[in-house]
Amino acid sequence: MNMQEKNISANNFEQCIKCTVCTVYCPVVPVNPLYPGPKQAGPDGERLRLKKGIYFDDTLKYCMNCKRCEVACPSGVRIGDIIQAARLKYNTQPPKLRDMILASTDLMGSIATKAAPIVNMTVGMKPVKAAMDGVLGIDKHRTFPKYSSRTFEKWFNKNVKAFQESFNRHVSFFHGCFVNYNYPQLGKDLVSVMNSIGYGVHLLDKEKCCGVALISNGMTDRARKNAAINLESIRKSVNERQMPVIGTSSTCSFTLRDEYPHLLGINNEDVRDYIELASRFIYRIVDEGKVKLVFKKDYKARIAYHTPCHMEKLGWGIFSTELLRMIPGAEVTVLESNCCGIAGTYGFKKENYHVSQAIGKPLFEQINKLRPDFVACDCETCKWQIEMSTEYAVKNPISVLAEALDLVATSEANK
């Protein structure tokens, strides 16, 4: 008889033994008393919801999906997933126009880049901000990230694509919406760093937004469509071309790896291990002695590293910080882990603005106290939030590497 030998239920909330540790580490609980907290919203509520959908509580929308509850849980319960899955399953209200706009990062991006100067100017104007605040419910304190006038993809195809074939080793780059529409420079940095260590960089056949914002705004059908397209391209890259897929955004990587199976129910098992952050990829090949990094002799910087929530969940902050610590002139301080409060589109919503800022406050205070030269961080929305809320610039570790590496010498060393 072998029954109950491994009673790890598919209903993973069963493993919750009600110790309440998750609630201690939830960033929303201290600032928004309307939120019932992860234990209540997650495993506790789930038992009632399984009884009848009527027990679904609208206040679950206050969950930012940061997964800090999961990191803290001693029982391995996927609390954040349970809450998000419940929202997707039981919430019957259609998404608001505002949410649809915020969630459609790639659609908005492709329109906005075409008219970038006008869009950037318009969304920055006070009357427009007031209208967005009043009509749409996008908080007026928020500054939209600026759109680039040329997408990363365009730049890549025109300038460096052909050159990539000259390398012996290759990776695919999941650039994400941010790199493509708002900040192509990060993509350019990634290409130069990878090229310098002897890797050719390629785009996926077809890349759509990872879908994180669609998921958090309840638009799962569109998220699933994006996921299908992305996974098809990723499979081609991994299986046919033997190219792993790297990214520069912790949230995109996390979504592709874990939210697809956990929230969208899409199996990515065959390629999941081949999707990772560039910092992890580079750390590993350096650690294995496969490549060498040669840094500029005169580079000096005091860097404060902020661990984004999804990075915390991935457990990959170590790779970014260890990479940064390899820079001889860098003085790296890892900030005490604290959510910045933005959580993607969450903080842009008028109803969440104050909560969002209150959540981030301890982080901003830490940064202000430390007075670094800049903050390093693997997440673009954290970057917006920290830049909006402090005086400090935020750079992706890959951009820091690009600045600190002697690219020519590194290329030489890796030939």
Partner: protein, 546 residues
């Protein structure tokens, strides 16, 4: 009945606070009698609270016991109307597995239809769509009007209504003696375990509704009823695996019913004969647990990987008619004994046999006899008068009547108390504050239960509100609720003992199934109570309950 009488004089005394006694008290009270209901422990502590909580369609008995099946389906339809907040209309499936004889299905359906049970053969694929947790290897399925019923709620609602009709209820009061004048029972002597006082109560009729323990009450009167104690063990799982009652379509056997009940589901039962002397001390053996799991997995394979919260056992109060060692083929039929005609003892009747499903009919029969003896011509109205709380079943509607923004705790309260939830103060933050987080039981609900529902300790509170019935089995809520009881009862020492008894009562159901997460939970509870709180054993132990 109009003349003035003393406080200890009634028209009828009902002994036993299970569902039969509660139902009889309600029926008698509704017909205008002055009723005294006496229970030695708490309401619903016996067989009433220790079964599947299945709203039988009668299908299970259709092949072997047509009369029971007919009673079941009739009462099933009545309970759906009068006890809406206690009943969940889930539907039921009788599935045939490859190892079962599919030939039984035809006979089963035919018998069901003959008994008036709407049994419908459906495609196994449709059955799986209806209940995805069912064993996908099933080869046949029959849909029947099974459902779930919460026996604690049902008993409580009957008692509430009896009280609303003037009945007096004494819990923790044990009948120590029947007062006999000549060949007539004229009253009872009662010992109250809380006040530690004895008292006498008088009535022209005493109804023995003591279930399995009714044998002893009858003995006090000088009559003999041979009860047939048949133990049935069940397992409670941590959450609902199924939303439709799952039965095996075969001759009744072990572990062939899986019932969703409130936030959990339960599989049962086993059946074994136990000596009458053991009926007060039921425990579940490792073999019974293994047997339940082995068979349960066949009904719903996911049970193999679902956490088990606890195990418990009840005793079927069957009246022995033959020496069948399994106790299964005995009739579940209602036994109404007029001891005047049977044994020459006047003023004493026994209502026994039957089952949870037919409690109302049992109460009706008993009350009819009481009325006949008292020359009262009032007709029974329990079949179409909703129980308190069941006047309205729409949770959304009820909550909107009272609260602008009902949260899950409000809705959970309505789920448990139906329309009576309107009487529960949940206006401010203090009242909605949660005591039990697993089941979402608020301070307001606990207060209501203590004040209105005859709650004397934490175990009683659990039966009325589900405090401590969730995943953690009372780990933190027990202490919170104990604080509230200490306030209400103004006795700290008693409350502390009560807390210890409660924790121990929870443990009794846990240790037979204590591995994996349940063991983790137990260790955590040990840390909290034996470690952090530094508590040691209580002075006295309560008997364990479901």
């Amino acid at each position: 009945m109009a003349q003035a009488r003393r406080d200890n004089e009634f028209d009828v005394i009902i002994v036993g606070g299970g569902i039969t006694g509660a139902g009889t008290a309600r029926d008698c009270a509704m017909r205008g009698l002055r009723v005294l209901l006496i229970e030695r422990h708490d309401l619903a502590t016996g067989a009433t609270g220790r079964n599947h909580g299945l709203l039988h369609s009668g299908a299970r008995y259709a092949v072997t016991d047509r009369e029971s099946a007919e009673e079941c389906i009739r009462e099933n339809m009545i309970l759906r109307k009068i006890a809406r907040h206690c009943v969940e209309e889930t539907e039921g499936l009788f599935i045939t597995l490859p190892e079962d004889d599919l030939g039984y299905q035809a006979k089963f359906v035919e018998s069901c239809l003959a008994a008036g049970i709407n049994a419908e053969v459906i495609d196994p694929k449709d059955a799986l769509r209806m209940e995805p947790s069912a064993n996908p290897e099933l080869i046949g399925a029959v849909k029947v009007p099974d459902g779930a019923v919460d026996p604690f709620r049902l008993t409580s609602a009957n008692v509430i209504d009896a009280k609303l009709h003037g009945a007096k209820v004494l819990v923790y009061s044990e009948v120590t003696k029947l007062i006999k004048e000549g060949d007539t029972i004229t009253g009872v002597e009662v010992y109250n375990a809380i006040t530690k006082e004895s008292a006498k109560y008088y009535a022209p009729i005493t109804v023995n509704a003591g279930g399995i323990w009714g044998q002893r009450i009858a003995e006090m009167a000088g009559a003999r009823i041979n009860m047939f104690p048949a133990k049935g063990a069940l397992l409670i799982f941590g959450h609902r695996v199924n939303n439709v009652v799952l039965n095996r379509c075969r001759k009744p056997a072990n572990a062939d019913i899986l019932v969703p009940g409130d936030t959990i589901c339960l599989i049962g039962t086993t059946s074994s004969r136990v000596p009458f002397g053991e009926v007060d001390n039921m425990y579940v053996t490792a073999d019974e647990v293994d047997l339940l799991l082995q068979e349960g997995e066949k009904l719903a394979p996911s049970l193999a990987t679902t956490r088990i919260l606890r195990a418990y056992a009840g005793v079927r109060p069957l009246v022995a008619t033959d020496d069948d060692p399994s106790g299964r083929n005995i009739s579940r039929g209602i036994v109404l004994l007029d001891h005047e005609t049977r044994d020459g003892i006047k003023g004493f009747i026994s209502i026994t046999g039957g089952k949870l499903m037919t409690y109302r009919l049992m109460a009706e029969w008993a009350t009819d006899l009481v009325c006949k003896k008292l020359n009262i011509g009032k007709a029974c109205r329990t079949m179409d008068t909703p129980l308190p709380g069941s006047e309205n079943e729409n949770i959304e509607e009820i909550s909107k009547q009272t609260w602008a923004k009902p949260g899950t705790p409000h809705k959970a309260t309505i789920g448990r108390h139906g329309a009576r939830a309107l009487n529960i103060g949940l206006k401010d933050g203090y009242d909605t504050s949660l005591v039990c987080e697993c089941e979402e039981v608020s301070v307001g609900e606990v207060k209501y239960a203590i004040e209105e529902l005859d709650v004397h300790n934490l175990v009683d509170l659990r039966r009325r509100t589900r405090v401590g019935m969730g995943t953690c089995q009372g780990e933190l809520c027990a202490c919170r609720a104990a604080g509230m009881l200490a306030d209400a009862h103004q006795c700290t020492e008693r409350t502390k003992n009560d807390l210890k008894n409660f924790i121990n009562e929870r443990w009794k159901g846990m240790y037979p199934v204590c591995w994996s997460d349940t063991l983790r939970e137990s260790e955590y509870s040990q840390w909290i109570y034996s470690g952090v709180c530094g508590l040691e054993g209580p002075e006295t132990h309560n008997e364990d309950n479901k």
